[in-house]
């Protein structure tokens, strides 16, 4: 682990609030999103989607659609080669059904036609004969003996005996002697918790333009969190070499993990290949809900023992997640993170993934962690109530810190949990008075964060300005943060730097924008690319001064002689060196390529005050404060935005968001009317407190901040509701009918 990157220093630009370069374009409509890209001769795609949760496809008759003069291509699963690697095969199988429909809304036939209206008309002419099969959309139903097998042959080889063929993945983590730990407890509480599947709710639906040429070269423009993985997946699915396919990412209207896979891009490419014309494919909101990837739903059993003075003696959890009709690895981060905020001598988590007749899950902000930590933090809160202990003091007593062997294995380095807890304790929010029918809840949160493959190029232009080229779509203000880091390192003003997001053929591979990795890893690569450029600029100055290059140092944007022995030369500014560069060796640039390690884990603590209407079960969030360790906040606005955004999404998850299925296994709320994300008036101003405990793995101390913030809201809100109504809530969302039923059950 490269954990010696961080060097303490005074910053000039880092920590200021610079204007974002994409702001004016986005508010004036000049920014180009996925659906804004067009090409001459473009066709419009439409997808026929199955109206069943689970059905064999007996036959498909597209002849009447193909007879329409406006229809230029028809694609089914038969157009794609089979036998790809499991992961890639699952990606294309989730886009378009092979032999069997696996969920309501599963694609069956795609059409490309000369107009959108013609494509829609053509869909109505397609005849598909289905043999409807028994379905299972809930975890318990899919786990039951005799449950319909969603996909045969996918049972995981690590799944223990006693679990049926829908169980695809299994994992276990932990250490210590559980029995001995529980024996030391004064009280043990066991509870079972449920969370509903939630959607990332990004406002921009998936959209792309695919153009395959007769020479086998292709271009794809799409809204994605990562153009490189799109290229890798689509090249394999279509059967072409990666260099033949150039993928360009558009501006992105939200992703939150949901745009880390493909749903329409391979279909559009195949339609374009068959039609010989560019094909535009966009999803409606209804399609986004039905046929993209929400997060997993979960059932989690938790058992925790505590002494009467608040020490946790042992904890164990068993997680059952469903991530749709395919194997799914989200149980791993779930089981790893469940107890990660605590320093425990005895801890064990086990987890199983079960297939259901639902769409294939996609990542959603700290995938797997919110639901696991919700279950653990709920039981810890109940134990605090049991002993009459302050829940914040109990967290302080048990918090993981530097040197703690984490519940998932590694030993923590410098981490910020104690600092965030202390900040919460000292904050006026924690002691503010509460009124009738009001309660306060708190929860800790954790996320691993990620580094990954990263490639950055930095050009010193002849006029002394800087161009940074990076390969990760800007989803949370990364262009401004990266420009700031380049400017800081080079010693030039922020407005001299412009950062752009390159297509796949302009830069080396960059992993997808996920794992809160971009400000950390792309930032790290940018700083090192700047250092490489600085090294070259020092060499150029040395050449001009005719001294040894080791005798030149870089300070405040200037090359200077290292000391009196180097001779007396006037410092040369970056702009001067740039201007002279054609005569000193040509253009100057720096680049850096790395598979970045050392992404520091991130912790947060959320405090929530709310009021429950005892007659209707309606919950009003009154006050909300987020405390989170950012390592180093490059641009505080965007760090605060991530903290507030995660809290807002978590509030929706806790109170109203859920995938609702009918008895027929079909999704009943594929729209924003009945899939209830919070609206602005549902939320108070969410206060933020940024802690800065530098990450040893980054030159400026940066930790990812994008995901941790969605982890604590579930338990913070559930704990507040439970304390307010005097009933321990065990299921999300806590929609008003559930809260009112709980209040009534307590009254009886």
């Amino acid at each position: 682990m490269a954990l010696d990157e961080y060097q303490k220093r005074d910053f000039k630009i880092i920590g200021t609030r610079q204007p974002r370069p994409d702001g004016i374009d986005k508010v004036t409509g000049r920014a180009l999103y996925g659906a804004d890209i067009t090409a001459p001769g473009m066709l419009y795609a439409a997808m026929l989607r199955a109206p069943h949760a689970h059905a064999n496809i007996k036959s498909i008759d597209t002849s009447r659609a193909e007879a329409m003069s406006e229809v230029k291509a028809v694609v089914t699963a038969a157009d794609f080669v089979q036998g790809l690697g499991d992961d890639t095969q699952d990606v294309i199988d989730a886009c378009i059904a092979r032999d069997k429909v696996l969920y309501d809304g599963h694609g069956v036939v795609a059409i490309a036609a000369t107009s959108r209206a013609a494509a829609r008309r053509a869909l109505k002419l397609i005849q598909v004969e289905y043999e409807v099969l028994p379905h299972a959309v809930e975890i318990d139903d899919a786990l039951a003996a005799g449950a319909p097998v969603i996909q045969a042959g996918r049972r995981g080889n690590k799944v223990p005996k006693g679990y049926n063929d829908n169980c695809t993945n299994w994992c276990e983590f932990g250490h210590g002697d559980l029995d001995a730990g529980f024996a030391k407890a004064d009280k043990i509480i066991s509870r079972s918790f449920r969370t509903a599947a939630t959607h990332q709710g990004y406002i921009e639906p998936h959209a792309c333009l695919a153009s395959m040429g007769p020479d086998g070269q292709g271009d794809l423009w799409c809204c994605t969190q990562g153009q490189y993985f799109v290229r890798t997946l689509c090249a394999e699915i279509i059967g072409m070499e990666e260099s033949r396919l150039r993928v360009t990412s558009s501006e992105i209207g939200g992703g939150f993990g949901g745009k880390t896979t493909v749903f329409i891009e391979p279909i559009a490419l195949m339609l374009s290949k068959k039609a010989g014309r560019p094909v535009k494919m966009t999803m409606s909101r209804d399609e986004v809900f039905k046929a993209t990837g929400p997060t997993v739903s979960s059932v989690t059993d938790v058992r925790i023992g505590m002494t009467r003075d608040g020490r946790i003696t042992a904890g164990e959890a068993f997680l059952r997640y469903q991530g749709g009709a395919f194997p799914c690895l989200t149980i791993f981060p779930g089981a790893q993170s469940a107890f990660a905020v605590y320093d425990l001598s005895a801890v064990r988590t086990r987890a199983v993934n079960v297939m259901t007749n639902r769409p294939r899950q996609a990542a959603y902000r700290a995938p797997g962690a919110p639901m696991a930590i919700y279950a653990v933090e709920s039981v810890v809160d109940e134990l605090c109530q049991e002993f009459g202990l302050d829940p914040l003091e109990v967290r302080l007593l048990n918090a993981a810190s530097k040197g703690t062997k984490s519940s998932y294995g590694p030993t923590f380095d410098d981490i910020g949990l104690l600092a965030t807890l202390k900040a919460a304790k000292a904050h006026p929010h924690y002691t503010a008075p509460l009124g009738p029918n009001q309660g306060r809840g708190l929860s800790c949160g954790f996320w691993f964060n990620f580094g990954g493959n990263t490639s950055v190029s930095l050009n010193v232009n002849f006029d002394g300005t800087i161009g940074v080229t990076e390969g990760n779509p800007d989803i949370g203000g990364s262009r401004v943060s990266i420009s700031m880091m380049a400017a800081e390192e080079l010693g030039v003003p922020y407005d001299k730097v412009r950062t752009i997001v390159a297509d796949t053929n302009s830069l080396g591979h960059n992993d997808v924008t996920d794992g809160s990795r971009v400000t950390f890893a792309v930032g790290l690569a940018t700083i090192k690319a700047a250092r490489a450029a600085i090294g070259e600029m020092c060499r150029r100055a040395a050449r001009v001064w005719d001294i040894d290059e080791d005798a030149v140092i870089w300070e405040d944007g200037h090359a200077k002689p290292a000391g009196p022995n180097a001779g007396s030369h006037q410092p040369m500014s970056l702009a001067e060196i740039a201007r002279q560069s054609p005569n000193t060796g040509g253009p100057i640039s720096g680049h850096h390529e790395v598979n970045a390690e050392g992404a520091g884990v991130s912790f947060g603590v959320h405090l929530c005050d709310l009021e429950v209407d005892p007659e209707t079960g309606f919950t009003t969030i009154l006050r909300y404060t987020v405390f989170q360790d950012a390592g180093r906040a490059i641009h505080p606005d965007f760090v605060e935005g991530q903290m507030q955004g995660g809290a807002a999404q978590g509030i929706g998850w806790a109170l109203n968001e859920e995938y609702i299925y009918g008895k027929d296994g079909r999704l009943q709320n594929a729209g924003f009317l009945d899939y209830r994300i919070p609206v602005a008036s549902d939320l108070p101003k969410i206060d933020t407190v940024i802690l800065e405990i530098p990450n040893p793995g980054h030159p400026y101390g940066v930790r990812g901040v994008g995901e941790t913030s969605i982890v604590p809201p579930l338990a913070a809100i559930s704990n507040a509701v439970s304390r307010t109504i005097g009933v321990r809530m065990q299921e999300l969302p806590m929609s008003p009918p559930k809260i009112l039923a709980a209040i009534k059950s307590a009254g009886n």
Partner: protein, 287 residues
């Protein structure tokens, strides 16, 4: 698809009658255009009624107000006279959609869309509002209560459309209120709702009342037992408990994605009680 914008009610009725199955009335369009875009309907003819003379006017008439069928929610909400006389109706209309939708949506459209959860309808029924209908056979006046006939169904005949809704005059010490329950704070659809209109005597005793409930049956319910529970009383706890029980007993809700039967029965009683209290306050009574 054809679009027509007639300037007289007669021409509009003729156009609608010429193609009764495939013609649709376009006022604000906040339901119609959404349904077309979603592929739920594919009308051949849209008859835009907004160009008809007077259809966007609010006029004082017989001590009450006649609201043209194309008056938007935002326009209604800015009319001081209607706001003063029928604050419950206005607050109900203002709950339709969002701020943007308020610039287009109309009471008449909300009524003709015939959703059990329509926000303006229980308030209009509590107000004893009357719709004026024009059709191939001329004009008729029908109580708003008698317009909805099921989910998505109205009692309007082929070629007929609503030209205005009449809110009658009120005595002194009379007012109304409307409340709905939604899981959010706006941009949502009623899980259940209650409109209450009442008149007080000089001592604050309720002398007349109408209570209408929404989203607890296929159509709006006018609950006479609920009105009886109020009449002759002040809005004290016992009276409101009786009102709530009458409402819970009268409603015939379903379990669906928006709420359970039990929840709707309980909450509609709460809403009716709270609306009755607000209406009493507005009418000058004390609690």
């Amino acid at each position: 698809m054809q679009y027509a914008a007639p300037t007289t009610t007669e021409e509009a009725a003729r156009l609608l009658a010429s193609n009764p199955k495939a013609a649709r009335v376009l006022a604000g369009g906040t339901d119609l255009l959404v349904q077309i875009r979603a592929g739920m309907i594919a009308p051949d003819l849209l008859v835009d009624i907004k160009k008809i003379n007077g259809i966007r006017d609010i006029t004082a008439e017989g001590g009450g107000y006649r609201i043209g069928a194309a008056v938007s929610g935002a326009e209604l909400g800015e009319h001081a006279g209607v706001v003063a006389m029928w604050p419950g109706v206005v607050e109900a209309v203002e709950l339709i959609g969002s701020t943007q939708v308020q610039g287009r949506c109309t009471m008449a459209g909300n009524l003709c869309n015939a959703s059990p959860a329509a926000d303006s309808v229980p308030a209009l029924v509590a107000a004893d509002a009357v719709a004026r209908i024009v059709g191939p056979r001329g004009e008729r006046n029908v109580a708003v209560l008698d317009i909805p006939r099921g989910v998505g169904k109205t009692s309007l005949e082929a070629g007929e459309f609503i030209t205005s809704i009449y809110l009658p005059k009120r005595p002194d010490r009379a007012s109304d209120a409307y409340l709905r329950f939604i899981p959010r704070t706006e941009m949502d659809i009623a899980v259940c709702s209650a409109g209450v209109s009442l008149t007080l005597d000089s001592k604050g005793i309720i002398t007349e009342a109408r209570v209408a409930l929404g989203a607890v049956a296929p159509t709006v319910l006018l609950v006479s037992e609920a009105a009886k529970a109020l009449i002759g009383h002040k809005p004290d706890d016992a009276t409101l408990a009786a009102l709530g029980k009458a409402c819970s007993d009268a409603c015939k809700p379903i379990d669906d994605k928006r709420g359970t039967i039990e929840f709707r029965r309980d909450v509609v009683a709460v809403l009716a009680g709270r609306a009755a209290r607000i209406a009493c306050q507005r009418a000058g009574g004390s609690l």
